[in-house]
Symmetry: C2
Subunit: 459 residues, 2 copies
């Protein structure tokens, strides 16, 4: 618990309303989007870099560590407060400082919501490619901390590919600038990208310079429905082999089609084995040829039905199911655990079989969705958290799926980070010597473990 | 000098012919593509990772540091041996281990020449986007160490965007794997990208997993000739503002047009103020519309002549001048110094004026070429190294151009690294606290300064 003296000083630094120490507040900020929870001793909401600097220095004096947080949509427990830590919430540093369309650059504070950013960019004919499923709530800073991806990664890459430069408050309270306004602005060691994906353990990002792109002049969205999930996965391989690089290749299996359909009545076929939402973008002149090639390849893989959305409303309709599917499973069972395993695309069919086998082995319901072009699966394990024995099977299945991905030459975490949740599996993916390098990097930035202690790795 | 005992042991580890200690060899490896030189005490050519490990351990025992090197095309002195160091040359680790077109992945040893890699990929309909001007000689490992770019960066990014995973021998002789076969294979701290661009100061890369792309089905190459360099720079802004993202926007000014023409007789107009080589790629259906938009925008900026290459031979002809221009200036003066300043694209005209002013201020001939889309200039300062007073003016001009770029919000080094040459200017671009972070990273990997000591920063 924070003493009244500390609370008073925090209020001096941050303003009365930017310090929360009541029980309900502290309870609320003990959670993120995982099943984990922790206890914080207070929540602070800085509004300027200078406040962050003062706060960091003061917390150092008091020997209190900070847990940075955006919207708390984190899926690996990266924003769960560990013991006796203060949550530093960046949601009130939410200004879009600049949109520079000449240089394809935007400058934002970390608390800007991804969706709000997209809206402002769209007005100027631009967009920011990384758009995780959480993008209506999640913040640019949170996306940075986890190196978030999203449906468009296959063609456009992940957060790391769009962060050009940063303002970072270090654990000693000093401020550095990394990178710049140009994707070539990174001589010396790549400080920008060591911060991206570091889950707030190395520095607190107070400003981001990101690369934005002009919106493509044309886009086509398609829905391919399959009898069998194996056919859908064959289509993915065939489309890519035909030289098409779609922006999006999203897969949902039968369990998740039905769950989404229950919730949103989008008119999806409940007896389908799987569906793919396929999107391509580019110049208007080349849309028809690409759609034709995709349709031919889907037919080759026994597609049951192939539709092209003709209107913006139809596009929204196709995306609706994908966007709501995670929440929809709460109609089936009260709890879910969303995995993030990623495999080389060519091993997609083996990964599907492996996930189905895991469901059977541990007698669990597991829905399969995937950013199929990236080989990035989000198996959705559905269960009841109140049933301890079932929770135990869920954890065993999680570990089994991590091993599955690693066995296929993949990774246990494609875009959700390590956090607290996957720290226990770090040794499955990395050799001790590599984890030792992680620790050395952490210690070189944060020798006294001030920022987000216990995440990614202990030191 | 190495003792005979050490030479004998090195020969045991690496094989007789992979250890060079004769005077001529040592002289040759004292240089790279800068004006700098140093003295090595021996050159070793490992052929396997295991040899690198044994070598690193043995050199540790002997307290001798290593300077890694590929083809030595380095433009910032990053491969210049500093005192009492052994050069470790990776040119004999030159196997392409795998080309996996299903997953868009290639696995190579660091000594593979970029051009050789492209040839093998092309046979399978693929390519590796980073292709620095040196690509016919420079190695994949060297490109990685400098985070090389090339003409296609504006659309496709730099080396960092294509390295997926690495095998790295650390200064303690341990081997780590970073990343994987997928662009999402990087949970935890981004070890891959802290190694990319680190100029061999943190670890020795012995294997690279890189992302390769299918060759675009169509490409168009254009030549736009201008009366004035200002008009060419206006075209760059206008083309991009029209929503076109060319793969290439290469600029040459009058001085370099004439220099190239003297050397290769490509038929370029000697009285032109500047030219742009413009290339777009994509689907065949969208080429005409893009070429038309580009032509319209060039005309708007008073283009004097606009040509589209109609045959592969014509494309080669257009590229010839650009590819040979650097060497060609030796006909004007015997020495050159190639700069690498990079600015936000919108400040391109100010940067051009600033470079012209620098030439005047220091009474030097400076040819301007640029990857114009990236705002990355390679001003080519032409002089005579034997004239000490002139060399002094060259150095002053170099510093002045670094300051110019930084004043415009850019960087002193877009794609050539820091090395030895720009270490002296590090403080112009970075605050002491940032340089301190560089040092901490270096020390966390290499506390006893074993790998490429004195490059980027001293510790």
């Amino acid at each position: 618990m924070l003493t009244q003296t500390i609370v008073n000083r925090l209020k001096e630094i941050l303003g009365e309303k930017n310090v929360v120490t009541d029980k309900i507040g502290m309870y609320a900020y003990g959670y993120d989007a995982t099943l984990l929870s922790g206890e914080t001793i207070g929540i602070v909401f800085p509004t300027t870099t200078e406040q962050v600097v003062q706060l960091v220095k003061y917390m150092n004096e008091q020997n209190i560590a900070l847990v940075p947080r955006g919207a708390g949509t984190n899926l690996s427990g990266g924003t769960i407060p560990t013991d006796q830590t203060v949550v530093i919430n960046f949601q009130r540093m939410n200004k879009i400082l600049e949109i520079d369309t000449e240089n394809f650059v935007a400058v934002v504070e970390p608390g800007v919501v991804n969706f709000d950013m997209q809206q402002e960019l769209n007005k100027k004919g631009f967009y920011y490619p990384p758009d995780p499923a959480s993008f209506k709530a999640s913040t640019m800073g949170g996306n940075l901390g986890e190196c978030s991806g999203g449906p468009k990664c296959f063609k456009y890459g992940v957060t790391r590919d769009y962060v050009l430069g940063l303002e970072v408050v270090l654990p000693n309270g000093k401020v550095i600038q990394t990178g710049g306004r140009n994707f070539k602005s990174e001589p010396g060691y790549d400080l920008t990208r060591i911060i991206v994906g570091s889950e707030g353990t190395l520095g607190l990002v107070t400003k981001m310079i990101v690369r934005v792109l002009p919106m493509s002049p044309a886009k086509k969205t398609m829905l391919a429905i399959y009898h069998k999930v194996e056919d859908a996965s064959q289509s993915v391989a065939d489309i890519v082999a035909a030289g098409i690089v779609p922006t999006t290749l999203e897969l949902l299996d039968n369990l998740l089609i039905n769950s989404a359909e229950d919730a949103c009545h989008a008119g999806l076929p409940r007896d389908a084995g799987a569906l793919l939402i396929i999107e391509v973008d580019g110049q208007p002149e080349d849309m028809d040829a690409q759609v034709k090639t995709i349709e031919e390849n889907c037919k080759k893989a026994n597609v049951r039905e192939f539709k092209v959305a003709r209107t913006a409303a139809e596009v929204d309709q196709l995306w609706l199911a994908r966007r709501i599917v995670i929440g929809s499973v709460s109609r089936i069972r009260p709890s879910y655990s969303l995995q993030d395993i990623t495999v080389p695309r060519s091993t997609f069919p083996q990964a599907v079989s492996g996930i189905l086998k895991t469901a059977k082995d541990f007698d669990l319901k597991i829905g399969i969705m995937a950013h199929a072009g990236d080989g990035n699966f989000h198996p959705l394990v559905i269960f009841d958290q109140r049933n301890e024995e079932e929770v135990d099977r869920v954890h065993k299945a999680e570990k089994s799926m991590c091993e599955l991905a690693l066995g296929l030459g993949g990774t246990m975490s494609g875009e959700h980070g390590i956090g607290l949740l996957k720290k226990q599996y770090l040794g499955l993916e990395f050799k001790p010597i590599t984890i030792d390098v992680f620790k050395k990097i952490k210690r070189s930035f944060d020798p006294t473990n001030r920022f987000n202690p216990g995440k990614i790795t202990d030191i």
